[in-house]
């Protein structure tokens, strides 16, 4: 069953409570946005759900699909690709099978030279390579932390459409503090304020 359910989840770092008693369910068919100002706990919440948070104290229950134990699509801005590889090496190793893969690459990675070393890419180009690889091989749960932060308009738009498409079949949580990213139709939002309070709504 592809759902993620948080039951009475409380997260605190040091003495300050970031989230108190959060209960929510995330399922495919809609995009789930985690919003709030800097320091509100958006990234921490995604790390907790990803199972990679080391320093926060966590109480409550996180129910996840069985596959989530083995594979999770977790994107965070600090993820760095191996700098010794050339773009072509990375793309060749990550190109998925099936129709549409080349079109996706064409829209998301249009101008990045294949012969350039990854260590020589701009932040936005690098982030696009990471996102392209991760979204090409999506796990049942996708946790994306500020995925569009460094992207220029056209690639950001292409990636947003791609993420929305994936949300039809996968659980997708996107953390952002950008007001420019507007939720649509059936999207669900969880607003965090950093004091432990939260609100959920469409």
């Amino acid at each position: 069953m592809r759902r993620v359910r948080l039951e009475n989840l409380s997260v605190s770092v040091g003495r300050s409570a970031l989230i108190r008693g959060l209960t929510a369910e995330f399922s495919p068919g809609r995009l789930h946005w985690i919003r709030g100002p800097n320091g509100a706990g958006k990234s921490t919440l995604l790390r907790v759900v990803a199972g990679v948070e080391a320093s926060a104290r966590v109480r409550g229950r996180i129910l996840v699909p069985a596959e989530h134990q083995r594979r999770v699509t977790w994107y965070a801005p600090h993820l760095r690709l191996p700098g010794h590889l050339r773009v072509g090496d990375w793309v060749k190793g990550c190109t998925p099978e099936g129709p549409g893969a080349r079109d996706r690459a064409g829209r998301v990675l249009p101008e990045i030279p294949q012969s350039r070393r990854i260590s020589a890419l701009s932040t936005g180009q690098h982030d696009r390579l990471v996102l392209w690889a991760l979204l090409s091989h999506p796990a049942s749960v996708l946790l994306l932390d500020e995925p569009f932060a460094h992207l220029s308009r056209d690639p950001a738009r292409a990636l947003r459409l791609w993420v929305r498409d994936l949300a039809e079949r996968h659980v997708v949580l996107v953390a952002t503090n950008r007001d420019s990213v507007e939720p649509e139709g059936r999207d669900q939002q969880i607003q965090l304020d950093g004091t432990g309070a939260w609100s959920a709504g469409p």
Partner: protein, 230 residues
């Protein structure tokens, strides 16, 4: 994505590093000097190999952990099994490749003394493989860019401590698997056995390291059951 993509990326990492090529040149230089001097002292063979190993072994696990690449590669794109196996395979391939290079040099510089080159290459390859597990441990725990010199230092200090405690030097060498007779292939068996164990330890240690990157504090998980009626 399959494991061979990771192996290819690891091989490229070693291949494109300047220290790899510097190490190979240094080994040739040290080795050649030994033969030109015609000393007949096989320690020079060892010095060249150990210098090359010290410069060339950089598993990169520490930087993978620091930059989130373990999450990206082991949990996002591949699998922990593929990641750990690729790191172990390529980590072990480097001493093996050095062994081949050393053998070639020995044969070339000695004007065709195959027996000498083959035996010493086998001995030092075993030593190199044994080094990889502690080198990965040092890299992960201390973040050392060149972990092998730290391993050498640890080995020398441990040996000195044991000898200081009254253990005979011959026994220390035997315990490490290196009480060998030049040219006698059977005397290499203890070192080869330890190299095999070290390979398993490397794989196991990496597996534990990678596994610890998930399911940290407070993470509770369970499979959701489908609603009734389905």
């Amino acid at each position: 994505m399959v494991g061979r993509t990771l192996i290819r990326q690891e091989v490229l990492r070693v291949w494109r590093r300047r220290t790899t090529w510097l190490a190979l040149v240094l080994m040739a230089a040290i080795h050649g000097t030994g033969w030109v001097a015609a000393t007949g002292d096989d320690r020079l063979f060892g010095y060249g190999y150990l210098t090359c190993l010290a410069l060339g072994v950089r598993p990169g696990v520490h930087s993978d952990l620091r930059c989130g690449r373990v999450h990206l590669l082991a949990y996002g794109l591949h699998s922990p099994m593929a990641y750990v196996s690729a790191k172990t395979l390529v980590g072990m391939a480097w001493p093996l490749a050095l062994g081949g290079w050393g053998f070639g040099l020995a044969v070339a510089f000695s004007g065709g003394d195959v027996e000498f080159g083959a035996w010493h290459a086998a001995l030092l390859t075993s030593a190199g493989v044994i080094c990889i597990a502690p080198a990965m441990l040092v890299e992960v725990t201390l973040g050392a860019r060149f972990p092998v010199p730290v391993v050498y230092l640890g080995a020398v200090l441990s040996g000195m401590a044991l000898v200081g405690a009254g253990v005979e030097a011959e026994s220390v060498l035997a315990g490490a698997g290196f009480r060998v007779t030049p040219g006698a292939w059977a005397s290499l068996a203890p070192a080869a056995l330890r190299a095999g164990v070290a390979t398993l330890l490397t794989w196991g240690g990496l597996w534990v390291t990678v596994s610890r990157e998930r399911r940290r504090t407070g993470f509770v998980s369970a499979s959701l059951r489908p609603p009734r009626g389905r």
